[in-house]
């Protein structure tokens, strides 16, 4: 249970400094608007803000009332309005409507817009068009790294995924580069840098440019983190599409962990109210079960419950003095543990109930069959029935995508029939969703026959020519074959083991998927770290369509301690899942490394599918 780290495992750097920095910068910005003011906060920024500041800090800096940015007229009577928003067009329109309404009413106030993490020119353009440029002052709050846990930093930018991987918009690359730059200023430099994927490559280049421009910042400092690894989400969609079965992932899939905390409803708390619970290493019970396969969690919790019972029982034979000691020293800890234990038991119960109801067993069986590539017909039928019974639009979509990526696209007949039934079950407007999924390469149709691979190679020669841009685009979906089966074979992703896979004593990272599959993303990272380069992985890189997009960047660094060389920062561009985090934590324990995760947002299959969906639930 809850494997300890090896004694020689390196210490993690202290990331709480990032919170202090973000808070201080916010205070600085608020002080730029002296006097009493009302603060309008975008809904998506509320939880991140809650993690670094609180109401009394805002009040200290003369924030009077707080409002949520929503499409309603503001009732504020303050003379100064401050808006804390993501750089989005609709926010600009909202602010413009407020300001213009004031102007019409002949009212003058001061307005300030604070963009987080940065402003976009498109936003300023809207302010200009709406005639309020100059009436509002703009600032940036470069709050792009939120430590959600001791080893997890999130940029809290779920829209990164859709913006880049669907729309091809590179607007967040600068934000990523700035964040990396900040990290290397505080904890850097990083002696070893690896990456794979187009976005990784571009982010790396821009980051390096920043460092050059401000050269001297990190010179002569001892590196705290030895390696940094940048990885695009589209290198591995498969892992992100699988149902999660480690506890933390399962809690995320079931209750949605938001910004490091989860709302447990009455069914979990066994009372009439919901409870917002922070899930991180501070929660001692959670910390011991978060990386465990769900099947181990029960045993652990009942053991804990028995221990707790025993500790309480000790008070029976106590005299007054001992009792006094017990109450003053141990009781508080026990009570805390008791509270956590009952919460997680409640959560497990609720998960079991939900999973039993939705036939989780059959679902997992289908997923494993898809991963291993057997009984494709049967799996297709299963998905079809799933759709016909209107089980869940997101789940159905996820299974179709999993089928598509593992099989290099659906055969045209299946694609048509599944799509038709999907539209009939969940609504014709999902036509737009299918178009999105096809563009992102998540759900495609197989090209008929192998003849096209020849065409493909011809076309790929053409594409260097700019005039052939149109052709490139038309064929881009062909160029992005997932090749999952070949990669899986090459990297041994489906463990062939004799006997039973003992989930209590995992032997490899596959335990996060019940021993059926080693997450591809984590395997790539493992392989590169072992070699400290991409050497010998040419074939894999080619199959990932990344022949020019895999890179290594080593700086000569003699001062790196052996401890720092066992610290690895993994950057997931487009989101990472808790299963991947658990798998790498496991790898770290095995090898004496420690991983630090930086992600644009924590994601899971449902979030990926929702990002592609055109129809808002």
């Amino acid at each position: 249970m809850a494997f300890p780290h090896r004694p020689d495992a390196p210490e993690l750097p202290d990331f709480s400094m990032l919170k202090r920095l973000a808070r201080d910068q916010l205070i600085y910005l608020l002080e730029q608007l002296p006097g009493k003011k009302d603060l309008f906060i975008e809904a998506d920024l509320m939880s991140p803000l809650d993690r670094i500041a609180n109401v009394s800090i805002l009040k200290q800096h003369e924030v009077d009332k707080l409002y949520k940015v929503e499409n309603k007229p503001a009732l504020s009577s303050s003379e100064q309005l401050c808006f804390l928003v993501r750089p989005r067009i609709k926010n600009m329109r909202y602010i413009a409507s407020l300001v213009n309404a004031d102007k019409l009413a002949g009212r003058t106030r001061k307005y300030k817009v604070i963009f987080s993490p940065q402003k976009f020119y498109a936003c300023e353009m809207v302010l200009e068009e709406e005639g309020i440029y100059g009436d509002v002052s703009c600032d940036e709050w470069a709050f792009s790294l939120l430590p959600l846990d001791v080893d997890l930093l999130s940029m809290e930018l779920p829209e990164f995924f859709r913006d880049y991987f669907l729309e091809g918009d590179q607007r967040w690359i600068n934000t990523v580069a700035q964040a990396l730059h900040l990290l290397s200023t505080l904890y850097g430099p990083f002696p070893y840098c690896y990456g794979i994927g187009r976005c990784a490559k571009m982010s790396h280049e821009l980051w390096r440019n920043l460092e050059e421009e401000e050269d001297g910042e990190t010179k002569g400092r001892r590196p705290e983190i030895g390696h940094i690894f940048l990885l695009d989400r589209d290198m591995d969609f498969v892992t992100a599409l699988c149902s999660q079965v480690v506890y933390e992932g399962l809690v995320d899939d079931t209750f949605r962990i938001k910004c490091g905390s989860v709302d447990f409803g009455p069914e979990v708390t066994s009372s009439d109210k919901s409870l917002k619970v922070l899930l991180n290493a501070e929660d001692k019970v959670f910390n011991e079960i978060r990386n465990e396969h769900f099947s181990n969690v029960f045993g652990f919790l009942s053991q804990k419950a028995r221990n707790l019972q025993a500790q309480y029982d000790r008070r029976r034979g106590m005299d007054i003095k001992q009792m006094k000691n017990f109450v003053s020293q141990e009781l508080k800890g026990l009570k805390q543990e008791h509270r956590l234990l009952s919460l997680h038991i409640g959560a497990c119960e609720s998960i079991m109930k939900k999973k039993t109801k939705q036939d989780f067993q059959e679902l997992i069986k289908t997923e494993h069959a898809l991963l291993e590539g057997f009984n494709i017909r049967e799996s297709t039928n299963y998905i079809e029935e799933h759709i016909d019974r209107q089980v869940s639009p997101i789940e159905s979509l996820r299974l179709m995508c999993l089928l598509s990526i593992t099989e290099n696209g659906l055969i045209p007949k299946d694609y048509r029939s599944l799509k038709t039934q999907y539209l009939q079950s969940y609504g014709p407007e999902h036509l737009l969703t299918f178009s999105n999924l096809r563009r992102a390469g998540l759900l495609t149709e197989q090209a008929p026959g192998d003849t096209l691979t020849a065409v493909e190679s011809k076309v790929s020669k053409l594409v260097t020519d700019k005039a052939a841009g149109k052709i490139t685009d038309a064929f881009s979906s062909l160029a992005k074959r997932s090749n999952f089966r070949a990669i899986s074979k090459k990297l041994n992703l489906i463990p062939r083991v004799d006997g039973e896979y003992d989930l209590k004593v995992p032997r490899d990272m596959a335990y996060v998927f019940s021993g059926a599959y080693v997450p591809l993303s984590c395997r790539i990272i493992e392989q590169v770290l072992e070699r400290r380069s991409w050497q010998g992985l040419d074939e894999v890189v080619r199959l990932l369509n990344c022949s020019e997009l895999a890179f290594t960047d080593m700086t000569k660094e003699d001062k790196a301690s052996s401890e720092s060389l066992r610290l690895i920062l993994v950057v997931f561009l487009g989101g990472c899942t808790f299963s991947e985090i658990s798998a790498l934590r496991f790898l770290g324990r095995e090898k004496g490394y420690r991983f630090i995760f930086l992600t644009t947002a924590v994601t899971n299959s449902a979030r990926l599918m929702e990002a592609m969906s055109e129809v808002k639930a």
Partner: protein, 491 residues
Amino acid sequence: MNRTKGDEEEYWNSSKFKAFTFDDEDDELSQLKESKRAVNSLRDFVDDDDDDDLERVSWSGEPVGSISWSIKETAGNSGSNHEREQLKSRNSFSYAQLPKPASTYSLSSFFRGRTRPGSFQSLSDALSDTPAKSYAPELGRPKGEYRDYSNDWSPSDTVRRLRKGKVCSLERFRSLQDKLQLLEEAVSMHDGNVITAVLIFLKRTLSKEILFRELEVRQVPLRHLIHFLKEIGDQKLLLDLFRFLDRTEELALSHYREHLNIQDPDKRKEFLKTCIGLPFSAEDSAHIQDHYTLLERQIIIEANDRHLESAGQTEIFRKHPRKASILNMPLVTTLFYSCFYHYTEAEGTFSSPVNLKKTFKIPDKQYVLTALAARAKLRAWHDVDALFTTKNWLGYTKKRAPVGFHRVVEILHKNSAPVQILQEYVNLVEDVDTKLNLATKFKCHDVVIDTYRDLKDRQQLLAYRSKVDKGSAEEEKIDAILNSSQIRWKN
């Protein structure tokens, strides 16, 4: 346990992992329940003054004093309730990891170079960030930069300034060549925000034909322009662009997307009509046509049924009032609705299930699943029966289904069908293990007992005896079988 047998065992063995099952109520859940009992039994002792180490949480579940909570408060009392607010803000913030307020980092050292003042209303504003440059990146070009505000910068310096969010006039890039060079620089820097900034400038200063022509061979900025136009909602220019690029499918989809913004059903229907002729793929054209036809039907059905319901004369609407309008629902939902409210209607009416099935070529499988769910919900077991009954040429009836009978059983169970009905369908499940599983799960004792008898499995039968109620008819039946001398047990 019988579940580890046969099929499933084969699967688990072949894939070599532990057969942990999520629907296994016997083991883990009972273990869990036990732990829960243990923990709950401690409550009396513990619950007395829980408050001290618990988060203070308001009714909505937000920690009191948190920002999200406070905003809800403002929303709740839109007036100004100062004292209350202040009182609340004194409540301690409860997240444990909040670092101490005192910062070891001085503000000035950290952001002076990075924070840009206000909105750049004047030139002096824009330049006032020069003195504090601990973080300002233009060390490479010390003086020249500020000499001439608008005319001096090369394209590469310009995009670099843009990346830093500085005000920067692009007006001097007037020749097409200069504009394109600026764009190339932006692209090679990879910052999408800067690419878009340049595109905004190009869009304003180039005719759209020239802009489109140049972007056609530049995929990266082209994607940025398309996304930008989508975001600001410049639908007209977007459609022009797709037309120019000859991307007919995207053009059609983009037009079709607009229907989502039309709330009025009749207007939406009319709009969908305009989509029918658009250059979709052959397959999608059929879907669009269906979308239009579906909404057309729904409008008719809705008007009719609303009338029927309010008139109060129709039994089905009185017994089961409609929970929502059928407008804009998916086809399958519409079919369910029509199986629920209009099951017996003749094929000629728009609302009859058969008519829907024909019009939209609904596959048998989907039709049967939906009809089954609807009729089972109404507990119309006779209809359920009829759904699966077929006659062969000799006039014998036989039960058949386009889906596995195990699905049928599940749907019936979900709609709480009585055991007699369930039993009948469990018996039709072909695979013996699945049958046993379902029968056990849904307590169809007769099926379980008969199956073990047919399997001549004395041991399992004995085991099952302990699961049925003492002195029940089932127990008697098992005893009778066990005592029978007719059966040659295999164990």
